[in-house]
Amino acid sequence: MRRIYHVARADFLQRVRSRRLLAVLAVVAYVGYLVNVGQIELAYQVADGHATTNFHGVNTAAFIGLKAGLTGSAVVLFGGFYLMKNTLERDRLHEVDTLVASTSVSDTAYLVGKWLSNIALGVVILLTLGFATITNHAVHGVGPTNPLPLLAPLFVLAFPVCALVGAVSLLFETSDRLSGTLGNISYLILATFSLAGLSATQSALPGAIPLWARAGDVMGHVAIYDLTADALLASVPDYGGGVPSIGTLDGDETFRYDGGSWPPWIYLQRAGLVVPAVAVVLGATALFERTPSFESSDGSGFVSRIAAKIPSVAWRGDAVEDETEPRSVDSISLTSVTDRDAGGFGRVVLAEVRLALRGQRWWWYVGALALAAGPILALANGGSSEAAVAPVRAIVLPLAFVWPIFVWSEMGVRTVRHRMTALVLSSRYARKQLVAEWLAGVVVAMGIGAGVLVTFVATGQTELLLGYAGGVFFAPSLAIATGIWSRSSWLFEVVYLMVWYVGPLNGAVPLDFVGSTAGSIERGVPLAFVGASLVLFGTALVRRRAEIQ
């Protein structure tokens, strides 16, 4: 236990002493303010034909506490993962993993310590939210500011989410394939999917909600529904059922919830979430590789496995040492360099493209090739213009502008990640390097979207090129701006995936920056995103300028 405590303590202290955490907590405190002033609202939505009426509670301490609880769950579920998922990476970066590997600390003790540190980080987030909730309720709330009903729901609802998310983030870190961009994307899908069980609560009053839906309630929607249903039904007797929603919902009508005792099943259900969390941590122990990796190929990849089957092809992935007799230093004549300002920008761009495309897994290249060439092959096989364009616009276009996310997510952070910052910043072309990196992202986008481009041009649908331009410029610009400012890639991955999911994939016109919907092109949405891209890229240049100076 002592070892676990010290692993957790050291990790936690390292975390809380970072400025990045302060920025995160400031955002969390702001969210706490929004909860109190009604910008973030917990409301029951009652549909009547095309009109929807939101019924929300009066801002009593009890209701604000529930809102804060659900907000805390949401913040930890969707944001906590990305904050927690660096506990093992940090040890690798600072080479603490080498020290740990040489000690008698067991894998289980090490990972449990890391898990506890993840939970402690979640608790810091909850405490910040709780402090903001109490403070703001004293100013904006209704009735007395009683800390217990304000804080208790926050911890009862959101603490188990901290435990669960902390465990899942640890599991993802221990898996080589899930520790990077693929894991970040997969988690976002997983977190969204974890709320799918709430669909079973539609048109059901609390008593009719099946046991499995209660048990699988990750954020605490069903608990809140159970607690507030009576108060709601007093104001809306004909309410048809369904858990409340949380978000920027305008409150049309109100009901009053003054709290009361919580049924035991809520405590049991919340405590029960810790059980899968423990199981996940134990699962992570099985995947955890104690021996640190040194960025060298371990020969476990697809190519190395194939090469191993062919005796004549040696897989040259192991660490090498040069063996031949070296030339004498005195015998080497050196070319004098007179011109150190001979351009070379094109070569920097080429090198950045090379960097962007290197190191992906084989299936990524196959997918990229299919997206680039597929539409051209389909076009070559004939068919009417409309028949050719429709599937490209609906399917290939959105996919072509999400597939390169593995490339874009490195933008703005690659130099930091590979400790190349000092070399780049001390060079003459530090600014141009950033421009070259951005251009490389644009080139990759253009390349994977080439099939889309050819289809639109060949079929005369030139107005759709606006959407193509939106896709080509927006993602690299967002990536490089968020990367260079945050020095991490998760912010880009989360923001971009959200925008892409809502816009291009689900056809929400205001966010459809690739023009997959007719409304998007008509309203010039991609053009607005091209403008936003330039602003984003400008902010990246501002940051680089500050770094250089």
């Binding site: 190929s297 040492e321 040069d322 230093v329 920097v348 090198a351 960097l355 190191g359 001390s426």
Partner: protein, 291 residues
């Protein structure tokens, strides 16, 4: 070619000074920068390489202020940071091509210099290997190759021999000595023999302040006549350490052979020996200045 440093100081966010009031004039040749851990060597190197801004003072490269006009020195700079990385999925040759482009070399010159640097650092056999397959010592040689790639007028190398085996350390010393002509080289290390073998002048930093900057001969001359070797019993060693600055010890079957600094013979059988840079360095650090 001259680098003039005027009252340079760097105060970190925590309030501690990395370096303070450092003034130096560096002419062509190799200038060894010595000091214990935390002396401020890497801070000074980072400022000279224009990747860190000083809090006070400035530095001039051939009369141009490098703090207000960093590009003036970046175009002629070669830099090996203490903590540097590589892009693991590039081959050695591709990586050096990238650095050459960043340093503004044309293709033809870049190609020639890359070949030469690869030979100089003894990496010809692995030029087409990805850098992720390189050992630590090989990566360090990559760092040296990239620092020399643009034939810099100002070469700033921070702990270049870390991780190198003795043979490669000797080779690097030769390479630095051979290429030092016509440029200013600032070589930071805490390995005294590396500096002794290559540097024309030595600057010693301690606690963020400059203790001395003079030729190796002058610095060593300060301890001439003060270096003794004597054989003492093991139980006497603690007492000797309390009374004198001990430079080194060698365990022998009949006791411990001690090399120390003293103004008079420490024992009856103590003998004078020729001073080395290490002796002079220890005296400088012990006394806080060179005088």
């Amino acid at each position: 070619m001259k680098l003039r440093i005027e009252e340079l100081g760097k105060k970190y966010a925590e309030g501690a000074w990395g370096i303070r009031d450092v003034s130096l004039e560096l002419d062509e040749g190799i200038h060894g920068l010595l000091g214990p851990n935390g002396a401020g060597k890497s801070t000074l190197m980072s400022i000279l390489a224009t990747v860190m801004k000083p809090t006070t003072g400035t530095a001039y490269w051939d009369g141009t202020d490098i703090v207000s006009s960093p590009d003036a020195v970046r175009s002629v700079l070669g830099y090996l940071p203490q903590d540097f990385g590589v892009y693991p999925d590039l081959t050695l040759e591709e990586f050096l091509e990238y650095v050459a482009a960043l340093r503004g070399l044309d293709s033809e010159t870049a190609s020639a210099r890359i070949d030469e640097m690869i030979s100089l650092t003894n990496l010809a056999d692995v030029r087409n290997r990805k850098l992720k397959t390189f050992s630590g010592g090989m990566r360090q040689r990559v760092g040296i190759a990239q620092a020399l790639l643009n034939d810099p007028d100002l070469l700033v190398v921070d702990e270049p021999t870390v991780g190198l085996d003795p043979e490669e350390r000797v080779r690097l010393r030769s390479a630095l000595s051979n290429t030092a002509s016509g440029r200013v080289v600032v070589l930071s290390t805490h390995i005294v023999p590396d500096v002794e073998a290559t540097a024309n002048k030595i600057a010693i930093l301690d606690g963020g302040r400059l203790r001395t900057h003079e030729t190796v001969e002058d610095l060593v001359g300060r301890v001439a006549g003060d270096v003794y070797e004597c054989l003492v019993a093991r139980e006497q060693l603690s007492d000797i350490r309390d009374r004198y600055q001990v430079c080194s010890t060698v365990q022998r079957s009949d006791g411990v052979e001690v090399r120390l600094l003293a103004e008079a013979p420490p024992t009856d059988d103590a003998t004078h020996v020729s001073p080395t840079l290490e002796d002079a360095y220890l005296r400088t650090i012990e006394r806080g200045d060179a005088t």
